[in-house]
């Protein structure tokens, strides 16, 4: 949709388009269960969050679901019990392993939800730096992450960043549909954030499985020009939303030049 953005940009430049906040009367619907689980290859607290959808106008978008039974099994039959530490947020400390297949099982209100995920091979960046580009006479800085994409396999990546200690924020997901086996330079940037010299940035580069990519790709593809927006594909049956991702993570630090 890059040309769509380009085109909307042109209309704004030519000053014909205008934008304002309006009221839209949205329906109230039955809340839906949302499960999000992540297991990484680092020895750390692994989290599963369980919540329900809320009305669009609700002040807090997180409606916690407590007292669920949450377990992750690996493909050797080992079970990791998760404990609720804050409402709706369940944790367990262990290290996931690359190549292993994990199964998340959630029991809540007498129903069971399950999803599986295999942790992909880790791909590491071999260089990280600050890049600058000029867009319509304006300097824009971005973080450039360079890595060698493994040839012959489908790879899916997810990038998060934290600027000056702010909570981590997802930037984007990408895949190697067009770059399989290439030395790739990924520009980590979003339209809303301006980077300044001296900013300290943490970047997480996650290697994720296809289902997790499909989930986030659907989210990032949902732009206003989409004719039929829909919920991202869920890893769980029974109508629950969300995903379960076993992911190989690498974290990098950089000071913006």
């Amino acid at each position: 949709m890059s040309c769509y953005r380009y085109f909307m940009g042109l209309l704004v430049v030519f000053g014909t388009a205008c934008e304002d906040v309006i009221d839209v009367d949205l329906k109230d619907v039955t809340p839906q269960l949302v499960i999000v689980g992540e297991v990484s290859n680092r020895l750390e607290d692994q989290y599963v969050t369980i919540s329900r959808t809320v009305a669009f106008s609700a002040a807090d978008p997180f409606d916690a679901v407590s007292d669920a039974e949450v377990t992750v099994f690996d493909d050797r039959g080992k079970a990791f019990e998760f404990v609720e530490n804050t409402p709706g947020r369940y944790q367990s400390r262990f290290r996931g392993e690359v190549g292993r297949r994990y199964r998340l099982q959630v029991r809540v209100d007498g129903q069971t939800f399950e999803a599986v995920s295999s942790m992909p091979e880790s791909v590491l960046a071999d260089s990280i730096g600050t890049g600058i580009r000029n867009v319509f006479n304006e300097e824009q800085k971005f973080i450039s992450v360079k890595y060698q994409d493994p040839i012959g396999v489908s790879n899916y990546y997810r990038y998060l960043w934290s600027i000056n200690g702010a909570p981590p924020k997802m930037v984007r997901v990408s895949n190697d549909k067009f770059t399989d086996g290439k030395y790739v330079s990924e520009d980590v940037t979003d339209f809303e954030t301006e980077l300044d010299t001296g900013d300290s940035v943490s970047i997480w580069m996650q290697c994720i499985d296809k289902a997790t990519f499909d989930f986030w790709n659907a989210v990032q593809a949902n732009n206003p020009g989409n004719a039929a927006p829909a919920n991202p594909p869920s890893a769980f049956g029974n109508g629950a939303l969300g995903y379960f991702s076993a992911q190989a993570v690498a974290e990098y630090f950089i000071t913006v030049q």
Binding site: D20, L26, P61, K169, A227, N231
Partner: protein, 795 residues
């Protein structure tokens, strides 16, 4: 020359099968032929044939009426080449020749043998003393053709439009049953169909992408256009290939008598047309061009990136014709248009259509007219990206070669036969990536696809009794998808089940479609009639787009082992009446349309450069129904029309909305337009257009949730919400400045969206910038009030 290297053995088998089926139905054709009136062989009948033309320019007139004054029921109309043939009893006849926008003329002819006759009509208002009930002004009531909307090119001049760029496609959106593709858009939807279901023909060449600059301007430069006909239903059997409508646009032939030039300077673009005789009264040419110049302002910038940027489109129409002798005329016409966008050397994007048509008209005898057409049509786009890490080009092309042979047999004054064959070769080269060796992107080569559509048709236009006239016919088409290539089959989830390799020319899949067409009118009194129609249409070329606006990069696919032809059955009933000596025209039509094998997409479908694009598709059914009302005042100082449509368009897909029916995006319950033109003084013409419509059906979230600190929207229903109602008033004024006989000029002023209504183009949802826990809806309105001015000249 244009046939692919097909496996002829297999192809012949298919053709054989086609003919076998045809044989099975041949008794129907024979029965029809037998029913043709026999009295045409009678001794005392003679045929008057010839052309009707514009007296000043020699342009042939399409659809002009020629009738016997003594027997108004005996008459005919000129075909697309201005040719007519009328068989009458020997003797002296007074013929009434008329055409909308021209002075009616009476011609006395002493017919003692087959006679050729050319009538030149003068443009201008009708003379009061002429009995207009016999004129072309009643054709709308009398003609059996239903669901047709004819746009008068002169009207287009006065209707105010965005940026002052007069536009055929925007004018037809003001007719009932034709919906605008969106704010300022030249794309259109007919009777609940989608944009790719419209067959858009320019001199018989299929135009794949009829818009410039993402839909805001149509590719049709009105200076070059002679005639525009839109069939919303009851399509004649000679048209096929799309299920929603046929928009048939004919280019001007060029002035056969004198050289002339006309053009204009507008805010967006400038135009110039030159035409004149090649050999006086025998042949003429016309060349018309248009180019935008927004990019010229970019050149003024000091910034090197900006002044090297590109942003423009242009159109070039050219046509030439030459009458070899009384019986043979040849035409050559072409269109070439392109959009070019670019930012510095970093990014380039260009796309456009090219069409070429060669036609050979032959008058085989005074009753049999033949036209042979050879058409080439092409649409392609290129994207180039060049920076430190990337250097690659994406290119895609779709093209066809089309050979058509059409005959018209004017067997009697009450009976005309249309029959012909059509061989269409369709090729698609999907988006391919051509990347440098050292760049971070791989080259990607998707397989080309080739198909062929063989079609034959027979239609009979017949007036069995004075009050009743009908057109009935049959179109038979066989679509063949050819190798070479790998063709995949997918399961319900879109996963590959099997793949098969096909050799060059091997038939992968074929679909045979039989399409009956019927349209009839029964005249109640002289000035009113009831009309009925039924038509089946099929479609083997499909455009895939899951965005709200059509983009040049939208992929095309043909019917295949996975995609079945789209089929629509439509039945319609209408009442037509003219008032006040045909000064007013009124019609009300209702229709019901059932559509099979409609296409939608899986959630987050990947439609770009995807080898398995067919796995991303979902198939379902559709229905559309409605009532359309049209009232027009054709002449006088105040003229114009009111149009209103009440309609519904719905879809059902197993994988969408829980299998329940849902409103199509373009389902707009009410759609109304008012168009008025007023001749204030001989030099001032004022005009106004008001449009109102229900908003599009749209999918909004009915809730939200948080994932990883990010708020996501929760959707429960496809198209379960409505955009706000759309309405807009535009004003225009044309001032004819003092002119000499040689040189005429005029100024056209326009105001788009006079009361600056903020019609929502997009409604989207976001987190509040200051407080991310608060979510809000916002709207983007594209065009506020926009004035325009254009200077036009003619000499």
């Amino acid at each position: 020359m244009f046939l692919p290297a097909v496996n002829w053995h297999k192809a012949c088998n298919i053709v054989g099968m086609f003919l076998t089926r045809f044989r099975r139905y041949r008794f129907i054709f024979i029965a029809l032929l037998i029913s043709a009136p026999f009295h045409l062989f009678s001794q005392h009948l003679f045929t008057i044939s010839g052309h009707i033309r514009d007296a000043l320019t020699g342009e042939t007139l399409i659809g002009a009426s020629i009738r016997l004054k003594a027997h108004p029921g005996t008459g005919t109309r000129t075909n697309n080449y201005g040719f007519f043939s009328l068989t009458v009893q020997g003797g002296t006849h007074l013929l009434v020749v008329s055409h909308v926008g021209y002075q009616t003329q009476e011609v006395s002819a002493d017919i003692v043998k087959d006679t050729s006759l050319t009538v030149d009509l003068h443009s201008g208002e009708l003379l009061e003393e002429v009995v207009i009930s016999q004129s072309a002004h009643r054709e709308n009531v009398r003609s059996p053709q239903m669901g047709i909307a004819r746009v008068d090119v002169n009207e287009i001049k006065h209707v105010p439009v965005l940026m002052g760029e007069k536009d055929v496609l925007k004018t037809i959106q003001l007719l009932p049953g034709v919906l605008s593709g969106g704010e300022g858009s030249s794309s259109f939807y007919v009777r609940g169909g989608t944009g790719d279901q419209n067959l858009i023909l320019l001199d018989e060449a299929m135009v794949y992408n009829a818009s410039h600059l993402f839909g805001f301007f149509s590719t049709f430069n009105s200076d070059a256009i002679k005639e525009v006909n839109l069939y919303k239903g009851g399509m004649p059997a000679q048209y096929g290939g799309r299920i929603s409508s046929v928009l048939d646009i004919t280019m001007l032939d060029g002035n056969k008598k004198n050289f002339g030039a006309e053009g204009g300077l507008g805010l967006i673009a400038s135009r110039l047309k030159v035409d004149g005789p090649i050999v006086k009264d025998r042949g003429s040419f016309m060349i018309s061009g248009r180019r935008t110049y927004a990019d010229l302002f970019l050149k003024l910038s000091n910034d090197e990136d900006v002044n090297k940027s590109r942003l423009y489109f242009y159109d070039l129409n050219a046509k030439a014709n030459y009458r070899i002798n009384e019986k043979n005329t040849v035409f050559l016409s072409g269109y070439f248009g392109r959009d070019v966008l670019g930012y510095s050397n970093l990014f380039g994007f260009d796309w456009g259509n090219a069409t070429g048509t060669f036609r050979w008209n032959r008058v085989l005898n005074s009753r049999l007219f033949s036209n042979t057409t050879l058409v080439y049509s092409n649409f392609n786009y290129n994207v180039s990206i060049e920076n430190d890490e990337f250097s690659f080009v994406i290119a895609s092309r779709i093209q066809n070669y089309n050979l058509k042979q059409d005959f018209q047999l004017f067997s009697s004054s009450k009976s005309t036969w249309h029959f012909g064959v059509n061989l269409l070769h369709q090729g698609i080269s999907p988006a391919n990536i051509d990347a440098d060796e050292n760049t971070a992107v791989n080259s990607l080569q998707l397989e080309d696809r080739k198909g062929m559509e063989l079609a034959g048709y027979l239609a009979h236009e017949w007036t069995p009794i004075d009050r009743l006239s009908l057109i009935y016919g049959l179109r038979l088409s066989n679509f063949l998808l050819f190798g070479p290539g790998t063709f995949y089959a997918y399961d319900e989830e879109g996963d590959i089940v099997e793949h098969t390799e096909y050799r060059r020319g091997e038939v992968v899949k074929h679909y045979l479609n039989l399409e009956p067409r019927l349209s009839l009118s029964y005249q109640l009194q002289g000035n009113n009639s009831i009309k009925l129609s039924y038509n089946r249409n099929s479609q083997n070329l499909h455009q895939l787009s899951n965005s709200t606006s059509s983009l040049p990069t939208d992929a095309w696919v043909m019917s295949s082992n996975n995609i079945k032809p789209q089929i629509a059955d439509q039945a319609a009933l209408g009442y037509y009446q003219n008032f006040d000596n045909d000064r007013y025209e009124f019609s009300i039509e209702s229709y019901y349309k059932y559509m099979q094998n409609q296409i939608d997409y899986r959630n987050a479908a990947d439609l770009q450069a995807n080898e398995h694009i067919e796995s991303e598709l979902l198939f379902g059914i559709g229905r559309a129904y409605g009532v359309e009302v049209f009232l027009k005042r054709r002449e006088g100082r105040l003229n114009g029309w009111l149009s209103y449509a009440l309609s519904r368009s719905e879809r059902q897909f197993d994988g969408i909305n829980g299998g329940n029916w849902f409103a199509a995006r373009q389902d707009r319950t009410h759609d109304a337009s008012v168009v008025g033109m007023y001749q204030l003084t001989p030099r001032w013409n004022l005009s106004a257009t008001f449009v109102y419509s229900t908003g599009n059906a749209v999918t909004f979230p009915s809730g939200k949730y948080t994932v990883d600190g990010r708020t996501l929207w929760y959707y429960t229903e496809r198209n379960g919400y409505r955009m706000p109602d759309y309405h807009r008033l535009d004003l225009g004024a044309t001032w004819e400045s003092a002119s000499s006989k040689r040189f005429k000029s005029s100024w056209t002023f326009g105001i788009y969206n006079v009361y600056n209504r903020k019609n929502a183009f997009i409604i989207d949802f976001r987190e509040n910038a200051d407080n991310p826990n608060v979510t809000e809806a916002y709207r983007i309105a594209l065009f506020g009030i926009i004035p325009s001015v254009t200077w036009n000249f003619k000499f």
